[in-house]
C-alpha cells in the first residue's frame, strides 16, 4: 500500500493540524490543572480530520483520549501499566475520564507504520 510519490495535496490542512497539536501541548504545559483549552484544540483537530477524511499518524492518534479529547501525556493526564492476563499488554488509562486502552506487547511484532516501506517521500 505504498503511496505514490508527488507533491503533498492537503499541505495547508496538515500545517493547521500541526499547529493545533502544538497549541494543545502548550495549553497543557501552561495550566496543567485546566484542560479546557487543550480539549477544545484537540476537538477541532479531530473535526478537521473527520471532515476531510485524513488519517493521523498512529502515534498522534494514540496520544489523544477517545472519549474526552484530552492530550495524553504520561504522568500528567494518563497512566501506563504493564499487565499480563495470559499475554502481556500495556494498559493506558486517561486520568480525567477513566477511559482504558490496551496495546499488546508481542515479541517480534512490528506494526506496519514502523516499516520503512509505509513511508511516502515528498
Amino acid at each position: 500500500m505504498a503511496k505514490k510519490k508527488g507533491s503533498l495535496v492537503h499541505k495547508e490542512i496538515y500545517q493547521r493540524i500541526n499547529f493545533l497539536y502544538q497549541a494543545a501541548h502548550q495549553a497543557l504545559t501552561t495550566s496543567p490543572s485546566d484542560l479546557s483549552l487543550c480539549r477544545f484544540y484537540i476537538k477541532t483537530l479531530r473535526a478537521i480530520t473527520q471532515r476531510q477524511v485524513l488519517r493521523l499518524h498512529p502515534y498522534m492518534k494514540r496520544s489523544i483520549c477517545k472519549k474526552c479529547c484530552v492530550l495524553l501525556v504520561p504522568g500528567i493526564t494518563m497512566s501506563v501499566r504493564i499487565k499480563a492476563n495470559g499475554e502481556k499488554y500495556s494498559e493506558i488509562t486517561c486520568l480525567d475520564c477513566g477511559k482504558k486502552c490496551k496495546f499488546l506487547n508481542r515479541k517480534n511484532y512490528q506494526p506496519w507504520f514502523e516499516n520503512p516501506e509505509a513511508w511516502m517521500t515528498v
Partner: protein, 231 residues
C-alpha cells in the same frame, strides 16, 4: 553506607553525586503545577468532604481507607454502549469552559508566538508584496487557524465592542472568545461586526457576517469572491 530512618529517606532529595551529573542524565525539574494536579487526580477522595479539608491534611488519608466501594450501575440491557461522549453530555459537563483563575493575558503570550510562526510558514514572506501574492495570502488566511491571533474589533453595530483587542482563545460558529490585556474573557459575536488582523505590516480585515462557519469546517468550505461586500 548508612540508612536514614524511613520517613527521612522517603522525602530526601537525590544524592549530590547524581545532582551534579543531572545534565548528562537528562533529569529535569518538574513544574510546580504538575505534581499537585497529578495527586489530585490519582488519589481517590470524597468530593463533598474535599471542599472543606485541604489535600495535605492527614485526616483525608484515613477517610480514603474507610470509603466503601461504589455500587455497580444497573444493566442497560442489550443496547450497545457508546464509547464517546454525546454533544449533550459535553455541554452538561462544561468541558470547554475556561476557569476564572486561568484567565490571564501573560499566560497566552506563548500561544501567540506559536501562531506567528505558523502564519509565517503559511503565507509568503513580506518581501514581495505584489497583488497576486497578496490575493493568494488572503485566500490562505481564510482557511487558516485563528487560535492565538491578536484580533481587533474595527466596526460593530454595538458600540461597546469597538476597539477591544485580545488573543483569540476559542472560535465557535457564531462567536470569538478573546482575552484582553485587562485579563477579561470577552465573547464577541461575529454578526454585525468587522475585525482586523495585523501580520508583518499588512492589515487584513475580516467581515464577520460572511465568516459565520465552524472553525473546523472553514478549511473545506469554498468562499465566493464578491465585487462588493454588503454589511
Amino acid at each position: 553506607m548508612e540508612f536514614k530512618s524511613n520517613r527521612e529517606a522517603l522525602y530526601s532529595g537525590l544524592p549530590s553525586s547524581l545532582q551534579s551529573a543531572s545534565n548528562k542524565l537528562g533529569i529535569k525539574k518538574v513544574k510546580d503545577g504538575f505534581l499537585k494536579t497529578f495527586l489530585q487526580k490519582t488519589l481517590y477522595t470524597d468530593k463533598k468532604k474535599q471542599q472543606n479539608v485541604p489535600l495535605e491534611h492527614l485526616s483525608v488519608v484515613s477517610e480514603v481507607l474507610e470509603c466503601q466501594p461504589k455500587k455497580a450501575k444497573p444493566d442497560l440491557g442489550p443496547r450497545k454502549k457508546r464509547k464517546t461522549l454525546t454533544n449533550m453530555e459535553r455541554k452538561k459537563l462544561k468541558i470547554f469552559d475556561i476557569k476564572k483563575e486561568d484567565q490571564k493575558y501573560e499566560k497566552y503570550l506563548p500561544l501567540h508566538n506559536l501562531w506567528k510562526e505558523y502564519i509565517k510558514d503559511l503565507l509568503c514572506g513580506p518581501k514581495d508584496k505584489s497583488d497576486g501574492c497578496l490575493n493568494n495570502d488572503a485566500q490562505k488566511l481564510l482557511k487558516a487557524d485563528l487560535h492565538g491571533a491578536i484580533l481587533t474589533v474595527k466596526k460593530s453595530k454595538c458600540p461597546s465592542y469597538i476597539h477591544t483587542t485580545g488573543i483569540v482563545l476559542q472560535e465557535t460558529r457564531n462567536t470569538f472568545k478573546l482575552i484582553t490585556k485587562e485579563n477579561k474573557l470577552k465573547c464577541i459575536p461575529k454578526l454585525n461586526s468587522i475585525f482586523a488582523i495585523e501580520d508583518s505590516g499588512i492589515i487584513y480585515t475580516i467581515y464577520g457576517n460572511h465568516f459565520r462557519v465552524k472553525a473546523s469546517e472553514r478549511a473545506i468550505r469554498k468562499f465566493k469572491s464578491k465585487a462588493t461586500v454588503d454589511l
